[in-house]
Symmetry: D2
Subunit: 348 residues, 4 copies
């Protein structure tokens, strides 16, 4: 950590910073400058909170040098973490997992029809929201536990693993009871009570990037999960807020290789939310794989015209087959593969 | 609501949209264009969810014409809502309330010293975080219920009303037991479980704008509170995420008059988080009042150099006196006034 | 175009809008609503400027329905435009062109060494800035015409086509004299005098997206070029400004398929500026091809440690070989190909 | 300047950075860290370009400590610069100047009527675009030199000073011939050829912040003007691009006190472009003054319903009178004043 002093800082100001560093047990080194001085902490371990220094007299800014996260960092664990949803469905290895399904579970017919179709197309995980965080209180809020039961029924029949979202500490146990992966959505990336509760479960978690979160903030939220003991964490890039309404979000694919450098955790891309436009899902799914994603999550609906949410970005089930074919080609081009279809049934 | 068709939409596509509108009980009117057609819903009441139309064949986009929020809108209630924290402390009338205090409650000495000082300077409400949502699990997370008790003690002595943040559904009851206003912070603006729980309490709520939320999204989150029966809601502009790291956020003061036009709820400005820089709090507090804020929330610490959080943006208690003097002048210039110091003690 | 009226608009306000539409020779149709009315222009051709309507009494907003651009649109010309730099180097067909070279031309040795290396690796076009737009007046501003001459010398020896930036109307003629493609950079996307001048040249142009420009604005700037008679225009996505300083820009790869749907012009991706980080150029070059780019522009320097600009994002020449190999695989996966190395010499 | 090394940087990498610093004549000091080292330049004067270091092996990032600008900085010149348009119209002193007028000069009648009205209301400078940079080639592009002559005619009659925009190096001389202040617009903040040309004129310049420019970039563009010898420079905050389309831009009023701390140049606010909404101009004009602006620029049109551009954000001339009254009150509240009406005629 470097404490950059203002150009009008006094010697007393500098001495006070040095003293504050020493008081918390670290060694300080001062670099005098013509215009301003800088005080560095020598040999620190990343756990120093810079906030208290920012308020000190004469301080211009505090520049963190060591990453603020620890357990999620590649420096802490240089080996890629494998998130084992089952023996066959593993995130973070050479095989790329395809997660597909509707935005929301709407009915038995809808979820069963979708599950059969995405399984046939090559997906290994079925997505479907049972609890839906919606901007408006008047929008469809999900079927709740009934939705989770329908997902479990789809798993029984198809062998697909299932992922569904927990939206508060209360729903974590319920989602953990039925789903194979607990999703924590963008709007909840900074819901620390939810993160702590999910971190204490032993079910794999997919943590989506907040809609205006930096990569550092995403990794810090993942740190909450690992700090509670759950290291089976998949990160997800799903687009960030931008100024151009042509697409729903700016799909920040460069975040994928950035995260892979900073962290050992697997990363999945969500081109459906990342773009919000059905016709863009195909090219951006291919691009996500080329960028290094360990999985792709795609919204698919048997009848997008009648979807209760996200119809504009949902693929027809018939589209998924040809898209998976293209994704296999791109995966092969970078010496990876799309994970083979799961055949066993039931939950591990 | 207008459904804009793509230029390659077929007559069947248009007929399907018309039929879907009629199926939900509304009347559709089609405007044929040279390049593309538009289908409008005639005489709707704002409750139509545009999402299902977005996924229909041939649809380019859905343009909402009526606001998606209702109870919070000025069209619903043209009269300014008064949020009565007590007989003396009312948000939304001619008097502008000053909320001041530390980011976090850290100790009895710190909060009592600050409370006396901000009361003497003219604040009517004492702020102080007991539960702190922090990006890093390794940062100070607040004193919890002990912090709430210290705030209540400060209220006893000074007569200041108190505001503190609830960070999950669980903490709502606890904060409601001690505080006069429950704060819902930026990171939780989309925490709908928390919103629903707070909406069922009968304590006034201050809802802060999310760090990348549109004004419409802020009003929709407030709609959750009113829909649950709590209309004692104060909104707060606290800056949004931007691309220039010179300030911590972009302090979007124009949001204040925008919200006042769209909604009947009072609006407070938070220049401390809005800028993140101590020296900017003074001019931006004045500007917030000139822009029409019903209150200003300012971080003050007896010793910013030793603050456990947000020291860089905290005023010295000695600064507050002269700042309040300036705010009084600006309030008078627009024919408003800074609310007088509270003199009675205890909670209403 | 739809003119959405405020809910308090009077019948006179609506009549005035109808009258204004009729005055400019169009037919107006009014859709009455319960809360607000909408006036549409029936059968217009996209050339109606909505601006004058925005200032009328009672108008809430003007919603453009037809695209504001014309000559660049796919509706105007459904066939992909081929930009023919030479018989061998064509942008917009099945072959993907690789443009490589240093940010700035610095010396004969540097540009010749780079040209030989990138030619050997498989690039078909050599990039190199002679006029450099720099944020600071104290940064290196380029070699000017000397730089252009060095580029031409590199073309003589290697057969590579060359691209270099014109930064004002004056430099257009000079760049056009030496280069095969005139680049208009991000900072000049809204420099309309430069656009008009370049549009009157007969040399192909690469127009880069402004650092905070919408796709519509990019296409409107291209419209200036086509409106002046030059339809040999290549567009370039190079990242837009974002809130996360981890990468230099947010590389908006979804812009590529968006542009391909809206326009017939070819699109190139610039992962070097798009990310600003050397290690990200490889995965994002692959991703750009998977997303549908017609070319990739990559900064390469024989000695990035000594580059006068953009060293952090420049590849070593040795890196380019293996990257081109990977790009060939990805191109093949989507049934395209990397354009073969040029063998003839001299300018066409 | 601090060069932060990656945690896997070798001793050779560090030695190479030290050597590169010494090679350009500076002294390097290394702070060893447990995880990574930092190399600082001791006693530099701000003129070191960090770019070449960013490309060196083992370098994580380069942190500038000294500001990259010099002549515009308050460290260089601690005294507020006064920009003297005439003896009576001075920007940067205690008096706040009001600039008002239409977006574009459209006709003799329009500009004369507006000039008389804004003069009567208390403005000291008349704005009006003769050359208009427009996103679309099909939008009204201004009257050119005829517009400048009409502005000069308005000055003759009213005594108002006039400001108009130069959009390329060619138009600088023409604008300089007629106008009292040359405006450089947002879209041209990075048009360095234009900046250099304007910097060589001796007419005061108003430089508007680019639509997605940082404050540092704005000051660097101003540095181009001062470096060419023109220190009569007024800066202008006019809103930056944001994600919420409720307002045209995010009006970043905190930029005003930030700039006043960093630079000695006067700063003007443009609430018309900053918000894009007529009803917001009033509260945000007051707020701009409270935030410390040295002037306010307001779009006024005799008949906004018929304006060829920016009608939605233009005030009626009748509105300006009462707004000036309010601005006087706010100015008095912070011990400043609105500059008195000019009475003499003709150009100084």
């Amino acid at each position: 950590m470097l404490v950059v002093m203002r150009n009008d800082a006094t010697d007393e100001d500098i001495a006070a910073v040095v003293s504050a560093i020493e008081k918390i047990g670290h060694k300080a080194e001062t670099i005098p400058g013509k215009n301003r001085s800088v005080v560095g902490i020598v040999g620190n371990d990343g756990s120093v909170d810079g906030a208290p220094f920012e308020g000190m007299e004469g301080v211009k800014e505090v520049v963190p040098i060591t990453s603020p996260f620890k357990l999620v960092s590649r420096e802490w664990n240089p080996t890629d973490t494998l998130v084992r949803v089952s023996d066959d469905v593993v995130f973070g290895g050479n095989a790329i997992q395809i997660i597909a399904g509707p935005c929301s579970v709407e009915s038995e017919e809808q979820i069963m029809e979708t599950a059969r179709a995405v399984s046939a197309a090559g997906a290994t995980v079925l997505r479907g929201g049972a609890y839906k965080p919606r901007s408006s209180p008047y929008s469809f809020q999900g079927l709740g536990v009934e939705g989770l039961k329908l997902l479990a029924q789809a798993r029984e029949e198809t062998g697909l693993k299932i992922i569904s979202e927990a939206i508060d500490p209360e729903s974590v146990d319920e989602v953990a009871e039925y789903a194979d992966i607990i999703q924590i959505g963008s709007r909840n990336m900074h819901n620390f009570s939810l993160l702590k509760k999910a971190g204490r479960s032993r079910v794999p978690i997919m943590l989506k990037r907040g809609m205006a979160s930096t990569i550092t903030e995403l990794l810090l939220s993942a740190e909450y999960l690992l700090a509670e003991g759950n290291n089976q964490v998949i990160l997800c890039e799903r687009g960030v807020r931008g100024f151009d309404s042509t697409t729903r979000n700016v799909f920040d694919l460069a975040a994928i290789p950035v995260i892979k450098r900073l962290s050992h955790l697997p990363v999945v891309a969500d081109p459906s939310h990342g773009t919000g436009v059905r016709d863009l899902v195909r090219p951006m799914s291919r691009a996500a794989i080329a960028a290094g994603a360990d999985g792709v999550m795609i919204e698919v609906h048997p009848n997008p015209s009648a979807a209760l949410s996200d119809g504009a970005q949902s693929l027809y089930v018939s589209d998924l087959n040809s898209l998976v074919g293209e994704m296999k080609q791109v995966a092969a081009a970078i010496e990876r593969e799309i994970a083979p279809q799961v055949v066993e049934t039931g939950r591990t």
